[in-house]
């Protein structure tokens, strides 16, 4: 356990070194939010509510979706498939810890860094520029915090799986890029799932992606109430369980394959 904590810490420190990225990152996320904010402003054009969100909620949704992306986003997929391919993973096998858990711990360190120094100030900055409404109910903040943490778990596990699959198919850039576009699209990052035409809404609701961005952001806007909040958390937990099992299974197979290839 101490080893995993140390990994988190190291990664956290490593992130601090990237100064330019950090400064520009806050600005850039505001720029992203802006690019969608104006489009949505034009779409609402005075209408009260669309797709289950009011114009004000939509702005809040965009801001919080992008800023929490800073927390849950990571490059585990690329790191894992690269490390397996170039053989550095062999070194990990002789270390006294679980490779995947160590990777996840590192990613969490990175995520926490961005949350503290990037997402939080970024959200504040966004609130200065755009009319973002923060929830006044303390309970919502707690649920949102939990949902964001779970979103991190869902996305990271999904990245682990993508990384391992990319390894099996001996190709990465294309697959991983496609995956990223799909996650952005189906997680509701820039298009809340409620906006899809009715016939197209079902598919995303049965996929794990909504647990990454759509659900936590909805919590924050206050569009979910009472039992809906708990249902959102339950959906996230469900996907974490499923993805964790799948990741563990793939990892065992990858390990066997590595041995066969002789590392």
């Amino acid at each position: 356990m101490a080893a995993y904590l140390e990994m988190m810490r190291i990664r956290f420190l490593a992130m601090l070194a990237y100064r330019v990225n950090y400064y520009s990152g806050v600005v850039i996320y505001v720029v992203y939010i802006g690019s969608y904010y104006f489009i949505w402003q034009a779409v609402y054009a005075g209408r009260a509510a669309l797709g289950g969100l009011t114009a004000a909620q939509m702005t809040t949704y965009l801001a919080v979706a992008w800023m929490s992306r800073a927390f849950w986003f990571n490059n585990l997929d690329r790191e894992i498939s690269n490390e397996i391919r170039d053989g550095t993973v062999a070194v990990q096998f002789i270390r006294p810890y679980n490779y995947l858990v160590a990777k996840l711990a590192g990613a969490l360190g990175e995520g926490l860094f961005r949350l503290a120094f990037f997402a939080a100030p970024g959200l504040a900055a966004a609130a200065l520029v755009f009319p973002v409404r923060f929830p006044s109910d303390a309970r919502l903040w707690v649920v949102f915090a939990a949902a964001t943490l779970l979103a991190f778990a869902v996305n990271s596990l999904f990245n682990v799986i993508a990384g391992l699959v990319a390894f099996f198919t001996l190709n990465n850039t294309g697959i991983l890029h496609t995956k990223r576009v799909l996650v952005d699209l189906f997680s509701g990052l820039f298009l809340p799932l409620g906006f899809y035409p009715a016939w197209a809404q079902d598919a995303p609701r049965w996929l794990p992606f909504q647990a990454i961005s759509y659900l936590p952001s909805l919590v924050f806007t206050g569009a979910l109430r009472g039992p809906e909040l708990w249902r959102a958390l339950a959906v996230q937990a469900f996907w974490i369980a499923v993805l964790a099992v799948a990741a563990a299974w793939l990892w065992r197979r990858a390990g066997r394959r590595l041995v066969v290839q002789g590392g």
């Binding site: 992203y32 690019s35 190709n171 890029h177 496609t178 576009v181 699209l185």
Partner: protein, 270 residues
């Protein structure tokens, strides 16, 4: 500028050689090639889905109809694809060339360093985006009953070239920032998506942003103004006439920043 052009002509056979070499080594990994194509298509599809979904909820965006917005996006894809296919190497320039010191090699060769960086890695399969773009333009153009003139055939490549030059200039300058900082990832992966601003009607943005995207970071000249010209939206379309000049200016700026940066190159601590 004309002199530069002549100089470039001297390099044409060499450029052709590099292109051939690049294709050869891309095709050595067919899986990468095909999934690269597929991922570009998925990306473009996602952007189109976004536009289509948005128009499910609104009849128009600030007076722009769905087909017009699709047309603008389609047009935008053409210069973007050319840029993406040829300047792919700028993406991890900071890490690969500056931090890891591969720029050493570039500087020991008797070619302009910028040209070499462009030529060493290209992702020519991204040119498919231009096909998607033209298809989107054709579909939207028909739905709108656009009248094409013969002169447009000549105007189109000029405007595209201007747009590409604007992208080159902006991203060359951003890549060159790596010569001043010691950060690993550089700015480009962060700023890549700025292009989102070039593909929607600029009048949906606030006055200040409109000014910025016209005169400061002239992204509106890449996609929107030229597309507005072909859409015969007079007021905006006239700006398109400035596209080549703006392109030349921004490119010159990028190259100047680059040249200043090269003098600061420190190499990797062996």
């Amino acid at each position: 500028m004309a002199l530069r052009g002549l100089e470039m002509a001297r390099y044409l056979p060499l450029i052709a050689r590099f292109v051939a070499q690049n294709l050869k080594s891309r095709l050595a990994y067919p899986a990468d090639f095909w999934t690269g194509l597929a991922s570009d298509l998925v990306h473009q599809a996602a952007n189109l889905v976004f536009i289509l979904v948005v128009f499910q909820h609104a009849p128009s965006l600030h007076g722009w109809r769905r087909e017009e917005v699709v047309f603008i996006y389609g047009y935008f894809l053409v210069p973007f694809a050319v840029f993406h296919a040829t300047a792919a190497n700028l993406w991890d320039f900071a890490d690969r060339y500056v931090v890891r010191g591969e720029f050493d090699r570039v500087l020991t060769r008797p070619l302009p360093s910028l040209l070499q960086v462009f030529l060493e890695t290209m992702e020519l399969e991204s040119l498919l985006g231009a096909v998607t773009g033209v298809a989107a333009m054709a579909w939207a153009g028909r739905a709108l009953g656009l009248d094409w003139r013969l002169a447009d055939l000549a105007i189109f490549p000029v405007l595209v070239a201007g747009g590409v030059a604007i992208y080159y200039g902006i991203f060359i300058a951003l890549a060159a920032v790596a010569f001043w900082t010691d950060s690993r990832t550089g700015l480009i992966p962060l700023l890549w998506n700025l292009n989102a601003y070039g593909r929607y009607p600029v009048d949906i943005y606030s006055r200040r942003l409109r000014f910025v995207f016209t005169w400061v970071l002239p992204l509106a000249f890449v996609g929107f103004f030229p597309a507005a010209y072909f859409l015969r939206r007079g007021a905006w379309g006239w700006y398109a006439a400035l596209t080549p000049a703006v392109g030349a200016l921004v490119l010159a700026f990028g190259v100047a920043v680059w040249s200043a940066g090269v003098r600061r190159y420190r190499g990797a601590g062996s």
